[in-house]
């Protein structure tokens, strides 16, 4: 069911974003493009082991994927699909109907001027 799939995908994105180091890795891949573990470790205040651990988790979640390569030369790049699903979730939370409906009611029923006695 699409609902269920969407929920799982969005959940993976939010779980990934809940960790500051993973946010830093995703931000680096967004800003500079595909990178190897070594390049990410050089650019970020995270150990090689930490980078490798987070990239494995992000790969399992479908948020990044390793390009073909060998050992230390494997470059990781972002997968934007899951982010777009998470955006749908945020779009629902960000949709404001209360404001427009209040404006509509107000438009049709202008508040009566208050008369001073």
């Amino acid at each position: 069911m699409a609902d269920q799939q969407s929920e799982e995908v969005a959940e993976a994105v939010f779980a990934a974003l809940a960790d500051a180091n993973r946010r830093a890795i995703l931000a680096a891949l967004t800003a500079k493009g595909p990178a190897t573990v070594t390049e990410l470790a050089a650019a970020l205040p995270i150990t090689r082991q930490g980078i490798a651990k987070h990239l494995a988790l992000l790969t399992d979640a479908g948020l990044v994927s390793p390009e073909p390569g060998q050992g230390r030369r494997v470059r990781y790049h972002l997968q934007s699909g899951p982010m777009r699903v998470a955006q749908q979730y945020l779009a629902a939370l960000a949709r404001d109907w209360d404001g427009p409906l209040a404006a509509l009611a107000n438009h049709l029923n202008p508040p009566k001027p208050v008369r001073k006695a």
Partner: protein, 142 residues
């Protein structure tokens, strides 16, 4: 966590149903309480555009007109690209309610997946800027 797929609100407005219908389907109405200005081609399949100060705009495709009780349209999901196939469906339902009108709005479809989106999400695709840049390079004879 529950993907919020559907939003529903009902308000009671102390005006006859025809007035409420006009407010949600005409340029004068939509451009006043909803957008800062509006263009409306009121027919099924017609487009309506809402514009706000600051440059934001919403493009509506009118899907259902049953004057004066049902008005439905689809529009894009905020944050997704304009050409994304995913759209939510908004339906206004009007019912006479004593001396006024009961107006319900339902917006649904936030949790939909585009047909191949799930595969794209998980199958290590190489879509996106990298392949588009590759195509540009190929196009330019690089």
């Amino acid at each position: 966590m529950g993907f919020p797929n559907r939003i529903e609100r009902t308000v009671r407005i102390e005006r006859p149903i025809e007035d409420v219908w006009a407010a949600i389907t005409t340029v004068e109405g939509l451009g006043t309480w909803f957008g800062n200005s509006a263009e409306v081609d009121l027919r099924v399949g017609g487009q309506a555009t809402l514009k706000w100060e600051g440059g934001h705009q919403a493009n509506l495709r009118i899907e259902r007109i049953e004057e004066p009780t049902v008005f439905g349209y689809t529009w894009g999901i905020f944050g997704l690209p304009e050409d994304d196939a995913r759209r939510t469906y908004v339906e206004f339902t009007l019912l006479p309610d004593g001396t006024g009108t009961s107006l319900t709005v339902v917006e649904s479809g936030f949790a939909q997946l585009a047909p191949d989106e799930h595969d794209k999400a998980f199958n290590g695709n190489t879509d996106g800027w990298r392949s588009e840049l590759d195509e540009l390079v190929a196009y330019l004879g690089g």
